[in-house]
Assembly symmetry: C3
Homo-oligomer: 309 residues x 3
């Protein structure tokens, strides 16, 4: 079977079919064997890591993925190290760095920046997050974690909890889940409900999410909860924030009383998940972050059409 | 033939003969075959990258060069990461880092810093730019680009345009061109004319540059134009700057009307080259930046006397 | 003989026996052969470098050690690049990064942070300095330097000079020297005398240090002087500082008149060692810094139980 990813870009989950998502996840499962011992399939290759916003998890796990494949990386971890300081346009920086590397990951605050990069450059571009628009490798690793932990995605009941209005990860995951046969529960405070346009899009694609603001019942019904951070800045009144944040805090007691569903979170968490859950078997958010490595190894391998070792 | 570069430093173009420049360029041409796939000639070796001033292009392409050779790098991308913060002298920082690596590239705002490093240290030192004095690997890649694009340097008519007074790259390139048989046109606004001492030096070495402030004619006569940024800060009066900057803007129309000479630029460009030229065949400034990789691979290989694979 | 270091942590010198210190030093001696040419024993392995405080020497020499072993590193050189900015706890950052790597070095301003990391994580943790508490790899390389330069540590007379009150390195070295049969001279200004609790600890372990504030005699009697920086901030009155700092400045004249003992310093030095000593054979502080590479190669090899090549 030809590798249809070769030489393409990875900008948004929206243009990926279920089959394509499965191909990356299957490849990621193969990569698990090299995750800790490494391989040499990318030897001699370089990945550019252009981070115009700082990021621990995304940057380090992309770098780890490339290095576990036997390749290496060059780039900058924040705009301070770039020529943008000297007034260079993003397009010119991209065209210059693309001369030095075989593949590029870009994180940039502006929506559409990754798409621009993909259009400009001959080498594969991976979107490491472009403003509030997309962060597709996060969604890939979320899907991969669900499949890895629950065996499959089809047939599961999934609760998205917390900020469903502004959170890039939950919006993107919801869209990706339309490719699968799942029950979706949307559990958020009134102020942070999912936007109407996305709700319509989900309906059109056959997902009929159930909206609620009752954390208890949406925990009890779910095979897994995907929680996100509720950000203070979203509330005009701090007292309003405190009330809501407290109502959405997930702790050991809640999980134990409601069937201990799998608990995912894109991290960093602040107060929305109590540390008393950390030792429970079903709280897999650190493993989830770790799954970013085999998933990104898989993606790089496919885009560069590396040998399967 | 013995490699006379082995164990030496690369501080300034001024002490290099034409033959030596040709040796590096010949080696760079050999390196093109490893530029995208890598080799293992530097395996186990480390390069120190000490950047006391940030730099995207120079830093990343030096790192890419070392990594494509199979080696690796350690260092810092800006003085914030260094012990200079704790009051350590440059000499002490250099002597310490030289303990960890086999070869060093230094970028530092002080003129003469690279020479100091070369005198202090036993390992090869490469100058990655020392203030307004030297940036010899930039000149190397400029020469290499001319040779690669035009087949040879001898016999060509070359226009240096823009800031010929303060620009380190044009001053250095002019000096290097005295090693070749070229016609040199100096095209600059009155305020940014090449300094008298350098003009005298060029004359003494047999280059008789023609000075002009007419961009049109100096484009028409040239096989290639090397443009540089005209910096606002050089002008006491902003209206004076605007007038001059506009008069030196190179665009598609100018090039098409005047024989489409090759267009080089050290980057970053700001307003001096219109983006409407980007798709033209002869505008090679991004390739020029990319040539920094094989040129620096060649230089590292020669200084460390690496095997030719 | 089984490797008792495998899978353990390296947090403090205090819990290491003399035999364990010797094992690391013996391994470091073996590593000298790979120090400049590299080996491939750590190929495919990744080390996390989490520096919550900037550090040239420690960070770069850890990275150099891992890379000379054929492995690679990921991490951040200062907290600016980390998720701590987004309110993430140290524990969460550690657990996340530990998903990406096989071994971790942590530098953090808080005393006890490295111990916390070791307790939290399944992978080996190396303490790269935790506040004023410990910096055990510095002590390892200090011991290794003494043994390498003087043939052995037992039987030597060692003067610790300068700040013995606040300096982490002298306190830690003094503790380590209780494992050996040495004469210890403590030479400091009154204000910076070693703290009573540590003096008691040294006595209990059989070291009876001689305290003095006479630099001349403590130089004459010593096989080696270990000097440290006297920091301005320790003195309420700047004139008091100046008097003391001057009295503790080591120069060529002092060394030549007093038997030229070996001179070590953890670096960076500021004014406490005159540069006129730099060319003397016995001033080995730059070599000492360089010894950080084989020592850290040894430690990583032992903790990861790498093959001996």
């Amino acid at each position: 079977m030809p590798n249809t990813f070769e030489g393409t870009d990875f900008i948004t989950i929206r243009d990926k079919t279920r089959e394509e998502l499965e191909i990356v996840m299957d490849k990621a499962r193969q990569m698990e064997q090299y995750r800790n011992v490494g391989t040499d399939s990318a030897r001699g290759h370089l990945m550019g890591t252009l981070f115009f916003e700082p990021s621990t998890r995304t940057r380090i796990s992309f770098q780890a993925a490339m290095k576990r494949l036997g390749g290496d990386t060059v780039g900058f971890p924040s705009p301070e190290g770039s020529s943008v300081q000297k007034g260079e346009t993003l397009a010119d920086t991209l065209r210059t760095v693309s001369q030095y590397v075989d593949i590029l990951v870009l994180r940039h605050p502006s929506e559409g920046s990754a798409k621009l990069a993909a259009e400009l450059l001959d080498i594969p571009v991976m979107n490491g997050g472009d403003g509030s628009a997309n962060h597709p490798t996060q969604t890939l690793l979320d899907l991969y974690t669900i499949r890895k932990e629950l065996g499959k995605i089809d047939g599961k009941t999934i609760t998205l909890a917390g900020d469903l209005r502004y959170s890039r990860t939950t919006r993107s995951l919801a869209r990706a889940l339309t490719r699968f046969d799942v029950e979706l529960i949307l559990n958020s405070p009134e102020q942070l409900k999912m936007k109407e346009d996305l709700l319509v899009e989900l309906e059109e694609k056959g997902l009929s999410p159930k909206e609620t603001n009752d954390l208890e019942s949406s925990t009890a019904e779910a095979d897994l909860i995907y929680a996100t951070r509720i950000q203070k800045e979203r509330f005009p009144d701090i007292s309003e924030y405190k009330k809501v944040a407290h109502a959405y805090e997930i702790d050991k007691d809640l999980l134990e009383k409601n069937g201990e569903p799998l608990l995912l979170h894109p991290l960093p968490r602040v107060n929305e998940i109590n540390t008393d859950v950390d030792d429970m078997d079903n709280t897999v958010f650190f493993n989830q972050a770790g799954n970013g490595v085999p998933v990104r190894m898989a993606l790089i391998s496919l885009l560069l059409d590396l040998p399967g070792r």
